[in-house]
Symmetry: C2
Subunit: 385 residues, 2 copies
DNA sequence: CCAACTTCCGCCGAAGATCGAACAAAGGCC
DNA sequence: GGCCTTTGTTCGATCTTCGGCGGAAGTTGG
């Protein structure tokens, strides 16, 4: 229950985080005797979790033997299930992608069909990477709807017919499965990949709909029912006429989501259906589309301005399909946030486009799986077994 | 760094939280041998942190000796500094109030004068409780403005002239001092006092201004600059004409804060200046005042509806001066939140008035001090010294 | 009222974990 | 090549923890 540094799990955490690459580092960081560290490292090597690489640079004495995660024996999968697609990334224990794939897949087909597809893809990718199925330690899955994280069951998801309360982890046998909302895993992936030393971060996904993943104190904030971050249905002023699929009106998503922009473009005589169509129009230089995207940015910025006052994040990352035209979206967002939020909160705030891009969700889901496996508790269990 | 249950600090945490009251409980909860537990408990008793009380109920065998925090040798202070008042509560280590006092005090007098006043009050209360100054282990202070928690320095506080960047802890020698925003300590006090098993809670203070304390995963979320929870300057729709002291317009505080309501009542020919005046008018049955309070509730509810979608708390507690007429305020808040937030987030959400009342801040500040002192790390340091 | 049973708690030898000193290894520096 | 620095291992000493035993202090049942 208390920080008492020194278990094998802690040692591995330090190696995994890159905080320590040699036995001496570990001794210094943990305060343990060098002999004790050696013993811990030996145990980790014996379990195939750590390996020694070439000797490092000498600093005037014997050069230290470098340590790193042993990347051969284990595999992890990150699965990104969207409304109409499925991406799977196979990763090694240090987060490198070994193989990945993407196909069209309708989530509305229901859990059995979709998960069977995922399972088959997993086998395929494992074969491609030359690793046996038994190497697969954990799977992370991001789904487009709220999930009860502890059980991996979707919780009344609006766009996942047939999935309500379906126990996704039970479908896969012999592997640990973690299921979370897609925006949450994107936030996790972005945080670990690009902003690891940031404590409080918001990841805003602007696609067909609008959602937000929340990193608070370095961990995902999921809220009481796992529905935290559902900012798509926050009301924006001056759009009472815009009805939303949720039954209310003036929801952010109903005026600034990709679908909403597409609809308004269609009304202007520019046929568009999806966020991708909007992006295409903007990239073709259409000024109407550009104006609408920037206006959407302002509306999103209005909501984010409130959330900046409330949550006081260090970084806001903008991702999702529409972030492909992020310069215009960001212009609107920044303009509003910096005008409407308190100076203290905005002074050190940065608002940036996603760095992980299209694969954000799959990578984040994989990281969710890896971090679960590498958690000190789990490692101690493995080492002491 | 890892949960490795068993240090003296952990044992004390279990006793303090009431999770364990006997040595057997401790052995069961920690998984340590009974003999080891006895040794830990002995050390804690020797340091004057734990004491044995009467034997408990027998369950068929020898009755266990009950353990509890030793409340005699230590004292902690919680200080609530408002714009115009100062409350100090002296508490024992288990959070019971030994003595308290309240006086009018203008925070604008500046740190030296105000802190000298606090110091004198502390001596007075210690005398009243019959404890020497040396018994005072830690002081928690809540101030009406943003604070850099790590250093205890106010950060550009708007209503605390002369306090900017003043290192409050250094004023007190030989005692640990923790300084935080007043709303934060109120949230902490309310959480520990009434909603200890709640993970995510918002405490909304409606007084002259409007602020919010955030408990996320059982701990205070302070944000990157310690300005999290500053919801008073979130924009509400349809009140563009209402100018706010922050320079923007349509801020929640400028339309629904106690000062704003008082101003509007004055315009209606009902002279009022402060939140207390508003409360008095409502309690006297004035329908104009009642209408305005309810309307203020709706506006606050509009903002909270957004935050419920974003943060997904289990409980929202309403406190502050205006919560004395909470039935009317809450009616407006509930009405709007339940209409505008997503069903998943509101289904198990409860919105209730504060239970700790007028002393919320002083109690919360005291709890901040006590929890700091009782933190496993600190206790281990004390026991191993 | 007393014996049998249950639970609690301290004592103590055994087992295990950690430490630190000494030593070996491997490079840099002159 | 000799000396210095840093790294890593070996090994006995020390400290911690465990768990069995017995005494303490109750309840239960005849």
């Amino acid at each position: 229950m208390t920080p008492q540094p020194g278990s094998a799990g802690d040692v591995l955490t330090l190696i995994s985080a890159g905080s320590a690459t040699t036995r001496s580092d570990l001794a210094r960081l943990t305060g343990l005797a060098r002999s004790t560290i050696s013993q811990r490292v030996d145990a980790l090597i014996e379990r195939g979790l750590v390996e020694e690489t070439e000797s490092g640079e000498s600093t005037g004495g014997r050069p230290p033997r470098q340590l790193r995660l042993h990347t051969e024996d284990h595999a992890f999968a990150g699965v990104d299930l969207g409304a109409t697609h499925c991406r799977v990334a196979l990763m090694d224990i240090s987060g490198n992608v070994l193989a990945e794939c993407e196909d069209a897949l309708l989530i509305g087909e229901g859990p059995e069909k979709v998960l069977a597809h995922v399972d088959q893809r997993l086998d395929h990718l494992l074969g491609q990477a030359g690793r046996p199925r038994t190497a697969l330690r954990a799977i992370g899955i991001g789904v487009p709807g709220p999930v009860e994280f502890a059980t991996g069951r979707p919780n009344n998801p609006p766009i996942m017919p047939g999935w309500n309360d379906y126990p996704i982890p039970e479908y896969f046998e012999g592997v640990e499965v973690l299921v979370d909302n897609d925006v949450n895993v994107m936030a996790l992936g972005e945080h670990r990949g690009a902003f690891a030393d940031t404590k409080h971060l918001l990841f805003v996904k602007v696609g067909t709909g609008i959602g937000c993943g929340i990193m608070a104190a370095g961990t995902l904030h999921r809220g009481a029912q796992g529905s935290a971050g559902d900012i798509g249905h926050i009301r924006v002023s001056g759009h009472e006429d815009a009805g939303c699929r949720c039954g209310n009106s003036a929801c952010l998503e109903a005026v600034a989501g990709g679908a909403a922009i597409a609809r308004r473009l269609t009304e202007l005589g520019l046929p568009a259906e999806t966020g991708a169509d909007v992006v295409a129009l903007v990239q073709s230089g259409n000024t109407q589309a550009l104006r609408l995207v920037r206006e959407a940015g302002r509306l999103i910025g209005e909501v984010l301005a409130s959330l900046v006052n409330f949550f006081n994040p260090e970084v806001i990352v903008i991702g999702g399909a529409l972030s492909r035209v992020h310069e215009h979206l960001l212009a609107g967002i920044r303009e509003t946030v910096y005008r409407r939020s308190l100076p203290l909160a905005t002074h050190h705030l940065s608002i940036t486009p996603s760095r992980t891009g299209i694969n954000a969700a799959a990578l984040g889901a994989g990281i969710l799986a890896i971090e679960h496996y590498l958690s000190p508790d789990n490692i101690n269990r493995i080492v002491n077994a």
